[in-house]
Amino acid sequence: MKQSIVWRLLRHNISAKQLAGYAIANLLGLTIVVAALQFYSDIKGIWNDDDSFISRDYIIISRKVSGIGSIFRKDATNFSETDIAEIERQPWARRVGKFTASGFNVSANVEMGGCGLSTALFLEAIPSEFFDIIPDGWSYSPADSSATVPIILSKDYLTLYNFGFASARGLPQISEGMISMLPLRLSISGNGRQRYFKARIAGFSSRLNTIAVPEEFMTWANANFSEKNSTDPSRLIIEVSSPGDPAITDFLDNNGYESAGDKADNGRASYFLAVSTAVVITIGAVISLLAFFILLLSIDLLLQKNRRVINLLLMQGYTPGAVGRYYTGIVLTINSIVTVGAIALMLCVRLLWKGQLSSIGIEGASPLIAISAAVIIMAAITFGNIRSITGTINRIFPRPGRR
């Protein structure tokens, strides 16, 4: 009964229109903020294709293959020492590593469900220091004749097999985990010799567009099976200071080089995405901020209109907390509804792009970050509102408050 009497006194002058205006405005602002955040975290997966071995700070370059020259001159697509020195001089290049190609014949054999697959292959090696994380068992000791050769395979090859070859030939599709368990047999020949090696897939890389083996193995195998003297590399791996730097693209274009997988372009696209997301989030945040002030003013006006009633209740001995509780209750209720509403709207809006993303194989990020952002933003807004209510009621409190 006490509550209902006090509430009847305090609810005077509450403007449902003002509160609804605030709720709608803040719902809109908050939805824009969290939906933009969610969109950004969903879509950035396109560029941030996780690669456990090689980070985004590396680019892999090769010469453009064009014209007849490359057919007749075998080394037309190689990088000379002068070329490498020039690249090393570029301000954006931190380190340059060479891909070492195999100078022998390789074929791989795999037994799969009674069906043997055999294919001619090529192998390359890059210096181990260019790996961010050295794959498990990434070493080879020529002294150990039964040693297994670890191989890192480009993810693209597995995709090509699964969605191109296997589906066309009615073969089973295989996962990364399965293929890592398959026993491989490498046959290496050249220089009048042939030898078989056990091999296994040590991992997949989306950035390393090759079939890579440890440098120790390559050096040893080239020394034993290659008929050629060492040649200039045809591909280079470069550690760069900023993958999206336009100076890199300009340099590559001017010299007729190209970078694998167009990661530099992706860098720019993801930068553009980040900028446009920031713009959208700012717009949403401004709307939310304005809505916050609407509520602040609306509640302040309400308290001013009810100043006499509040003062009389405090004169009776009601604490500012007991009186303010009713108003903080309103704020908490509306803000909770707005938070839940914005999260629900964001999840609905997300369906618009989620279907399209999953059709190109992107799962999308967990909505937890966007949901947490919504909760944190609303907690901050609620805190601001409640502070303002408490402050105003404390100012109304009848006390000597002298001079």
Binding site: L9, L312, M315, Y318, R399, P400
Partner: protein, 219 residues
């Protein structure tokens, strides 16, 4: 618990510069040292405009526009925290303001309940019998705005008594009451003050409440 109220050279700001003029001089309160000990009762007689309602507001702590010091048991009341004031106003200091401060949209019963639910001091039976004693029991469920000023005054008195108190400040408690109601209100207030062992500080511009005061001060 408050044992005594001390006034030390208190002067409302509005009277500053008029220290030697009427009504400051002569006055038993303004610019004097006054002590009121519990359970002594005190009547403050004053002419209109001499600041008696201001004095009540100063003691109840809702205004601070004065110089000098008001203390409860030696502590300057201007130093009290919000929580201390809330506690005093529900457990030690009861107040009937001249303007009554009722909520016009609430009924008689609700106006009393709003205080009694806070202090949990009186039973509903006590409230009903007191309303009956003051001859306003028939109005219990009527919004206060429909009552005469005299009836409203009695409602406000009942509400003021719905708490434990050491001092009861009553600002012109019977200004709108006839002699019969004056006597009924006076005996009610005396009983409650005795039960609480409390002091009564009453003001009057003419129509005095029927209580034998220990002292009478001229404002």
């Amino acid at each position: 618990m408050i044992e005594n109220i001390q006034l030390r050279r208190v002067l409302p700001d509005v009277f500053k510069g008029m220290e030697n003029d009427m009504p400051m001089n002569p006055s038993d309160i303004w610019l004097r040292d006054v002590d009121i000990h519990r359970p002594d009762s005190c009547l403050i007689e004053a002419d209109s405009g001499t600041g008696k309602s201001s004095l009540c507001s100063f003691i109840y702590g809702c205004r601070g526009d004065y110089s000098g010091t008001i203390s409860f048991d030696g502590t300057d009341i201007s130093t009290f925290s919000t929580a201390q004031w809330c506690r005093l106003r529900t457990h030690a200091l009861a107040y009937l303001p001249q303007e009554l401060n009722l909520f016009p949209e609430l009924t008689v019963m609700e106006n009393i309940e709003i205080k009694n639910r806070l202090t949990d001091c009186k039973s509903t039976a006590w409230i009903k019998s007191t309303l009956q004693r003051l001859d306003i029991d028939a109005k219990a469920d009527v919004p206060v705005r429909f009552l005469s000023v005299g009836q409203q005054q009695r409602v406000a008195i009942v509400r003021a008594l719905c708490q434990p108190f050491d001092f009861l400040l009553i600002d012109e408690p019977v200004s709108h009451l006839d002699q019969r109601n004056n006597s009924i209100v006076a005996s009610l207030i005396k009983e409650e003050a005795e039960t609480n062992g409390a002091s009564i500080i009453a003001t009057s511009v003419g129509n005095k409440i029927d209580i034998n005061f220990h002292s009478t001060l001229r404002l």
